[in-house]
């Protein structure tokens, strides 16, 4: 097994169109959730979301959808930082691993709307702009001839994508992988979470006693992963080390998490085992923390079950309080948060956590960022169908 490191990070979020802008605003405690602009859904009770305003000159052709364009912009950001030489090396040893939520669905919605209005509609768009499209756009930009993996694990997709990329780089099958996710707002997810009564009409409050649901968000995040020896050989800057991942299924319910956090705890334990970590080594958990009543309580229990007494000393951060729930991209957003926290030895805040739920009794970094020594971070992402993923990262300390 080869050691795998992150040499590039690209973020396109509601807080900024690049990593450093996003991170600066995260540390400052800014919130990307605001009035809903990109969809017109006047009958919906929730009228807020975390949206990305792309500039007109964002990469992607005239026919590209927003997901493709955000993903490409995030990739350029990641490549600018990593600086790999894409003109040399074997392109068969480069791969793309993309977590998808609803990418491509807005074109399908537009077609259905047209047809229901008696219009002809552009039939080719939903046929050819499916969720694989983002992966291919990134693969072509990279000149990658290795795997192009599109993962449809809903809200844990992009964390699973990073896990898959780690597997293939660690096993020596790839020398460079880009992994992450992209998600654009669409009617289906807005209407779906609304009818499940899972959305808060106000900015969400993860781990709060009065938390009332999630806010939807959009964005794209990509990580560049390489084997340590090759990254060092080319003098790349290293942001963090990927140690491994764990995954599990709840075998419990189509949409609700296991109330005791059973499946999530097993994913965390598997991540520790695969990574060769003890619970006592964990300093940070970048939590799934959707702010739904069911999730945050069961996630707290899962962290406690998996880490035991060591849970008392970990810091927890809930990035969805800043970005909303970016669904297919959410795991990658959580991973990027952890990478930056490890790099700068600071925990980004959980916003609006003024009245913590006694059942969520971990140190959830309320309201403001906090400096502390961080060596190892875990990242959680959970999804419909009881699909749980946990990724383990270590601070890069030069050896």
């Amino acid at each position: 097994m080869r050691r795998v490191v992150v040499t590039g990070l690209g973020m396109v979020t509601s807080l900024g169109l690049d990593t450093e802008t996003t991170w600066r605003r995260m540390r400052a405690g800014d919130c990307g959730i605001g009035p809903l602009r990109s969809l017109s859904l006047p009958a919906e009770p929730v009228q807020i979301a975390a949206q990305v305003d792309l500039p007109a000159d964002a990469p992607g052709g005239r026919r590209s959808n927003k997901c493709d364009r955000m993903a490409l912009l995030a990739l350029e950001d990641a490549l600018a930082q990593s600086g790999p030489d894409l003109d040399s090396g074997d392109p068969r040893r480069r791969g793309v691993f993309q977590g998808a939520g609803t990418s491509g669905l807005p074109t399908g919605e537009a077609y259905l709307l047209d047809r229901m209005a008696g219009k002809r509609g552009r039939a080719a768009d939903p046929v050819f702009q499916n969720s694989c499209g983002v992966t291919d756009v990134l693969g072509l930009r990279l000149g990658a001839m290795g795997p192009r993996s599109t993962i449809m694990n809903a809200c844990s997709s992009s964390l699973m994508a990073i896990g898959q990329a780690w597997e293939q780089v660690a096993h020596g099958d790839l020398d460079l992988a880009v992994a992450g996710g992209a998600e654009a707002l669409c009617r289906m997810t807005f209407a779906g979470f609304s009818c499940l009564k899972a959305m808060d009409p106000a900015p969400c409050r993860p781990f709060s006693r009065d938390r009332a649901g999630l806010n939807l968000g959009e964005g794209a995040v990509h990580l560049v992963l390489e084997p340590l020896n090759l990254a060092k050989a080319r003098g790349a800057g290293i942001l963090a080390e990927v140690l491994g991942y764990g995954a599990s299924m709840d075998a419990h319910h189509p949409t609700a998490p296991h109330p005791e956090g059973d499946g999530a705890a097993r994913a965390i334990q598997m991540a520790l085992r695969v990574s060769g970590l003890f619970a006592e080594e964990v300093d940070l958990v970048s939590a799934h923390a959707t702010a739904t009543p069911a999730n945050d309580g069961s996630e707290t229990l899962a962290i406690r079950r998996a880490l035991g007494d060591a849970a008392k000393r970990v810091s927890v951060t809930a990035s969805k309080s800043q970005f909303g729930h970016t669904l297919g991209a959410a795991g990658a957003v959580g991973a990027a948060t952890a990478v930056l926290c490890l790099r700068d030895q600071v925990v980004s805040p959980t916003l609006r956590l003024e009245d913590p739920d006694p059942l969520c009794d971990l140190d959830c970094t309320p309201l403001a960022a906090r400096e502390r020594r961080l060596g190892v971070a875990l990242v959680n992402a959970f999804a419909f169908g009881g699909n749980n993923v946990c990724l383990a990262l270590r601070r890069w300390e030069g050896r």
């Binding site: 046929v127 001839m145 299924m249 075998a251």
Partner: protein, 354 residues
């Protein structure tokens, strides 16, 4: 050192019927299953699982909550476990699931969106929304069979099931799991046949014929395969249906069909140093795939000529799962499967029977 992966169980829901016997007869006779689609599934010809019934297998209360692909997957998975002689609940944490699908989640998405777009929030159904994501299928399998290990749902267009197969092999190779259920699954739905017709992907008249450029016809179904390491299978005295000698993929560096063909040939060649006994091809009758696979016929003249399951059971129909099923049903001992995709990764696999 790589672990040898073997297939010890198979379950099939195909347009020709449910179960291995129906599929075997269909493969042997080579009779296409296309017929006019029922109104609730689309228009024109297609290969629908019209005789499919989950009665007596899925409890009625649960069956009502499931979309068609999830029901197909449930029944096929149950057959695969039975065929392998495995109690999935006993494997629990050591059993994972890898699903490949091109259309999973789309049927409920259409059913969810139409009333929502027409009536607004009062038209939205929470029960349908839960099925709008492809990952719902693995969630139902997990609950039904007590699967508590890792799960992944892969989308690789027409080769999605081979992407799932590749991930399953990797988990077994890493010794993370003792067994993985691989499922290829798809369902028909009205807007799919409309889109295929309007984009001239589907046949206007007659049946799909590879090389004719007339077009494809859609199909539906689920194919489930239980994968284990050889050590695990032998330790429990399992009958081995086939050994997975290799599964590989390469992606085209440019969008041209010739580049897709070139990488498919390279993938197949790297897996097949010796001449296979049989070749299962993924061409569908539409030039978008046929043009990718056809050049391999002249490149590998010594190989046996391929047979094409999609001309019997339809495109999608398991997104490559139907190709793996045909490989296991075919009398050939060492079988090559090529799975061209309309874009992106091009997959191939080699199965060898005892």
């Amino acid at each position: 050192m790589r672990q040898e992966t073997v297939i010890t169980g198979m379950g099939l829901v195909l347009p020709c019927g449910t179960g291995l016997e129906a599929a075997g007869a269909s493969w042997e006779t080579g009779t296409p299953c296309f017929a006019p689609l029922p109104e609730n599934l689309g228009t024109g010809l297609g290969a629908a699982c019209t005789a499919f019934s989950a009665s007596g297998i899925i409890p009625p209360m649960q069956s009502r909550r499931l979309d068609r692909p999830s029901r197909f997957a449930w029944v096929a998975a149950g057959q695969a476990f039975q065929d392998a002689g495995v109690d999935p609940a006993r494997l629990g944490l050591r059993l994972g699931v890898a699903v490949g699908t091109m259309t999973g989640g789309n049927e409920p998405t259409e059913a969810f969106l139409r009333p929502y777009l027409a009536k607004g929030p009062e038209g939205a159904s929470p029960m349908l929304f839960a099925n709008c994501v492809a990952v719902a299928i693995s969630g139902y399998l997990s609950t039904a069979f007590g699967i508590r290990g890792p799960s992944v749902t892969q989308l690789a267009r027409e080769a999605s099931a081979l992407a799932a197969l590749e991930q399953a092999r990797r988990w077994l190779d890493m010794r993370l799991l003792e067994a993985v259920l691989v499922v290829g699954v798809d369902g028909l739905f009205p807007v799919l046949s409309e889109l295929l017709h309007r984009t001239r992907l589907s046949v206007r008249e007659g049946l799909p014929v590879v090389g004719s450029r007339r077009g494809l016809l859609p199909g539906e179904g689920a194919q489930a395969f239980l994968l284990e390491t050889r050590d695990h299978a032998e330790a429990r005295g399992a009958r081995i249906r086939a050994s997975l000698r290799g599964v590989a993929a390469l992606s085209p560096a440019t969008p041209e069909p010739s580049e897709r063909s070139r990488v498919l040939a390279e993938t197949a060649a790297c897996l097949t140093p010796s001449v296979p006994d049989a070749w299962i091809g993924g061409s569908s009758g539409h030039r978008i795939l046929d043009e990718v696979e056809a050049p391999l016929l002249s490149l590998f003249e010594r190989w046996p000529r391929p047979r094409y399951p999609k001309t019997l059971w339809g495109e999608f129909c398991g997104s490559g799962g139907q190709l793996l099923a045909a490989a296991l049903l075919d009398p050939g001992r060492r079988v090559l499967v090529t799975a061209p995709a309309s874009f992106g990764c091009q997959y191939a696999a080699v199965l060898e029977k005892p």
